[in-house]
Symmetry: D2
């Protein structure tokens, strides 16, 4: 249960790390949208492991196939099924995973919850699961851009203690994509890469923060009281593997301000209502106010490290476990397209919900 | 749209600040639970304004009525409808609100989204909306305690720059409720109250952080990949008025640790799997692991301040607005029961979902 | 569970026969609609018992109150909560119901399912439960009429063996409402009333058929493959108390035709596509084709009769039970507004869903 | 939109007649169930065209692949993705379908609703769409049988004017499957086959009735007031292609009985409550009462006939269209597994919902 996301633009993902493949069904995509695999593949390429020296070296091509919902190059309004085949293999290195739980992974909780667990590669808990999200998110982003001129992007702003200062208003995709860590501050990016390399060499890993940005939004998207824009964004981000925190606008830092300091004054500009500052993060009362939406997602350091750690086995006896082979020292660069995808999925769903209720 | 929360224990809230009242319908509550207004009223009393010198002085009794779903003192398995009547009044002080948008409130976004707005008292955007949540949450908490021995509580850990150190494992309700700011560190509580009073006198307001704690959890609650426990908790908290951030376990602070430092080693204790540390915050892979769940919710300072602020009116012309009468300088003590309620609603829903799929 | 209906125009009903009252929360109603109790009350008056000599003589005024979602006479886009207070009483006549299950009622199944049952007046299984549906349906009908010019109506076409021939294309509300049985064929209506009176005198009851009609529909409403228009209409009608069957267009009678006989030829008329015949009942492939939608709902005879019947008690011991007082010999005239309400709720939900996906 | 069915055992189907394939994702299946393609394939074989002389001669093998959710032969509790590849081809015969709407098919409504239509083979409106339902239904049936001893079956009881008398209590699968029309009355089956052959030779088609039966049910499944068992069964059946009617228990025939005649007396038998008759069809107040559930589904005659018919083209100009090649004269034998599948999907969903709310 729990593998469907969204109401009107609704996705259902499926698939384990090893097995037939991973995929997604998108229901509710408007008809008539031009769509081909080439719209999807670039985001999958940004998500896949092995794309640079600082991600996991596992090589997967992650080639997407659109199986339904598109005819003669345009969407039909029927479900869009997309699949990426697994390049299945089981190395000896995996065998220990069958009988021991990796610390701070989901092996134990899946074992305890379901009683039966696909241990190769982590099964459903593998980051491969996000392929379906990113594929669906690529459609959402295309629609948002074409219909509403809304732009969704994300970048890395912090790796361990290294913080970049990024302005959500002006950050450019070119700058984000100009380096392998996906931090638009190129000087900081160099240091971040160094830090990650260091920890990889030490068999260790690092976490950090991804900033999500949505620009060009209309006023009015968001469905209070429960489906506020920030609530659905929060859920979306907290559903990503390894995420531990979310805040929007002034966020956790805003709690040290007073009301007078924090409030965003309104100003009228050419018949449009704007705010002078944007501590609200583009959302007021759960509804977009036309300003840029920006939010942060905290990712913990990757749990797989190349060191012996205390753990228990499937008999619940104490033992130890040590990661083998090469590991992924930092999930952040690959988390960028995941954050973009989930944000786009939230936004398109809210766009359609808003039009349904308030569109006339 | 967006006024329903939950799947199996599902609540729908309704009501504006002024008008007939506010309420909630709870669908899916198991039958046979002993239930009376006296189970609900205490939490509403902890939520209501005017309960202490540091909250808004508005006096409302918020007396709850159970209208359905209970017969001869026990739940029927049918919808439980609960209502609190509004003590309706419209003072002259409100009139300016009809034509001007309060900065960092939802007046403008509601106006723009819906085209028609209940301005008295903020209408649906008033914190009165949370009455239904707290009433439903009281039922959820009772069920969690009775059936699973699960305890849900919350407390204030930060007001502006003042931080209390609170251990989720040991914090006690008596200590939380021993002071009006609901901070279990009594020395810090005194300073927090002083700080709030100061800002109230200055016509200003403060924000801060509420810590949520869930103890006594079984292993296995949570529905990946989208309805992870932390994702649904995150949505629940981000749906509260004035919340700007959420994190769980090590959260935003955890990003500065390495994987080796961050991982929670497993140990077997008397046939049970436990973690030596709890940076995961009781959730791994979206599923509870039996350890204490703890999370933080950031609340911005209250937007209503007793100072003239720049804003626009309903004609989108520039103007100014100044709060009148007495204001609420700090939402935090009243947010405590709201956080508890929303956490309990998430947990009970997941408890039932887990039993449905994995219960046999 | 199961007390919510609809996706975008979503209603949640609550309430038992005896207790605080019965009601409904409507979430998703577009803002700006003029709405007052006077839009709702007429349909409730057509639904209530005691309105004529052939319905149950129980006198209830069923006065509706709008508690939220409307401000200065127009909807806000927030949940509309409506309530009808119960005029609570418990007569001695009811006591037997506490310990014996009425045959072909839901007493036994509720007892067995929930373990705890509100026996007075049947509790949640009372037809009073439909008050919330009819109140919500009145809003849906108003919207359908105003925005799309869609007209929803229903009438009685069969009482026991007496069948009226009614043309869905031309049947008029005035003719339906011109007699107490709500059959537009006035000669047949007289015979139907006589038949019902006869059975009432004999302490017995009759069933029959209600015809539902929707005219003025656009092409394109309906969401295959599962949420086809006829599927959602079918569910809506089969969710009404005492309904045992549903068919649309040619329905059960159509099975004796061949494909050549049954097919509706298309013809172009002034740039519009029309069908020459309408055996499809205005729906093809689950989507409205612009022709009149018509469907039948079969209602069984009322289960309460004034005769001793074999049954069991709450100890599962054999016993007998005899209805007392005056009974409702025929639910059909009161079912007419229920059918209209449910049809309108299905249609408005599909209207909004269609606009969300295909509206641009 | 509208391609998801169920709440806790939830399926999402996808796929057009021509294109990559058709499939289904099942979310919520309990973990630990033994499952392989061989559990699914037999029902797909009963559904596929070309299995006998009286169905469409199109030859498709419809070989199912399980792509996820199963590991080492048992379900994981994660989504089960199943797919059947299309054996794609486009003959010249199809070209006319690109520009003309087949009468009483969904070509026109899809064209008008979505603006863009997959015309080859009917696209999403093809009966191939039901492959996903039947595959998912096979899992549901297996679970129902294993966990609750509940048996779901269906058979043909009427072809055009030919009616078989079938007792839901005693009908046997062997008798149903003993002939190609799937009617357990073997004498009548012979006549039905003859009738179908006759109409096929004449280029025409016939409709009829399928009886659905569920035996071995516990008391208590069904979620009033909207998600009554008969309401969800009704929706399920009315969502099948070509279905025009649904009734349960006494159904449309029951309307000519009086209350005294219709009521099912209760009797206690060995501590169990049973009904003497079963006009209720095993459901009272929307909840199963432990008796056999039986219901009828009316299917219209297949719309494709080998005769010239009036229609319009995509320019909305009048024209004619004549079916070519060989056609399917009767959908009924293939509808049997579809009815079983949909019934099983409704029942398993209700089983899980009941256990979630009332299971303890």
């Amino acid at each position: 249960m729990g593998n469907t996301f969204g109401h009107l633009f609704r996705i259902t993902t499926w698939g384990e790390s090893h097995g037939g493949g991973v995929g997604v069904v998108v229901d509710g995509c408007p008809p008539g949208l031009e769509l081909a695999e080439s719209d999807i593949q670039p985001d999958l390429d940004r998500r896949r492991p092995g794309q640079s020296s600082i991600t996991t070296p596992r090589k997967e091509t992650d080639t997407v196939q659109i199986l339904s919902g598109v005819f003669e190059g345009r969407t039909l309004g029927t479900p869009i099924s997309m699949m990426v085949r697994n390049e299945d293999f089981r190395s000896e290195a995996y065998n220990e995973m069958a009988v021991k739980f990796r610390p701070s992974h989901a092996d134990y909780t899946y074992h305890a919850k379901y009683g039966h667990r696909a241990w190769p590669g982590g099964g459903r808990t593998s980051a491969r699961e996000t392929i379906g999200r990113v594929a669906a998110g690529a459609i959402a982003r295309k629609l948002l851009k074409l219909r509403w001129g809304v732009e969704v992007l994300a970048c890395v702003t912090q790796v361990k203690g290294l913080r970049a200062h990024v302005d959500p208003q002006t950050v450019r995709v070119e700058d984000i994509e100009s380096n392998i860590v996906r931090c638009p501050d190129s000087a900081m990016a160099v240091r971040m890469v160094e830090l990650i390399e260091e920890h990889r060499s030490a068999g260790d890993s690092v976490g950090g923060i991804v900033l999500g940005v949505v620009r060009g939004l209309p006023v009015g998207w968001g469905e209070p009281v429960f489906d506020r824009m920030e609530a659905d964004l929060g859920k979306a981000m907290m559903s990503l593997p390894a995420s531990k925190g979310f805040d929007v606008g002034s966020g956790f830092d805003g709690v040290t301000l007073t009301g007078r300091e924090h409030n965003d004054a309104f100003r009228s500009e050419g018949g449009q209502v704007r705010t002078v500052t944007n501590r609200s993060g583009g959302i007021q009362g759960g509804i977009t106010n036309g300003e840029t939406v920006y939010f942060r997602v905290a990712f913990k350091p990757v749990a797989t490290v190349m060191h012996e750690q205390d753990t228990v086995d499937v008999q619940y006896a104490n033992t130890t476990l040590k990661g083998r082979g090469r590991h992924d020292p930092c999930v952040l660069p690959r988390a960028v397209p995941m954050v973009e995808a989930m944000a786009a999925l939230v936004l398109i769903d809210h766009a359609l919900r808003h039009e349904a209720q308030c569109g006339r």
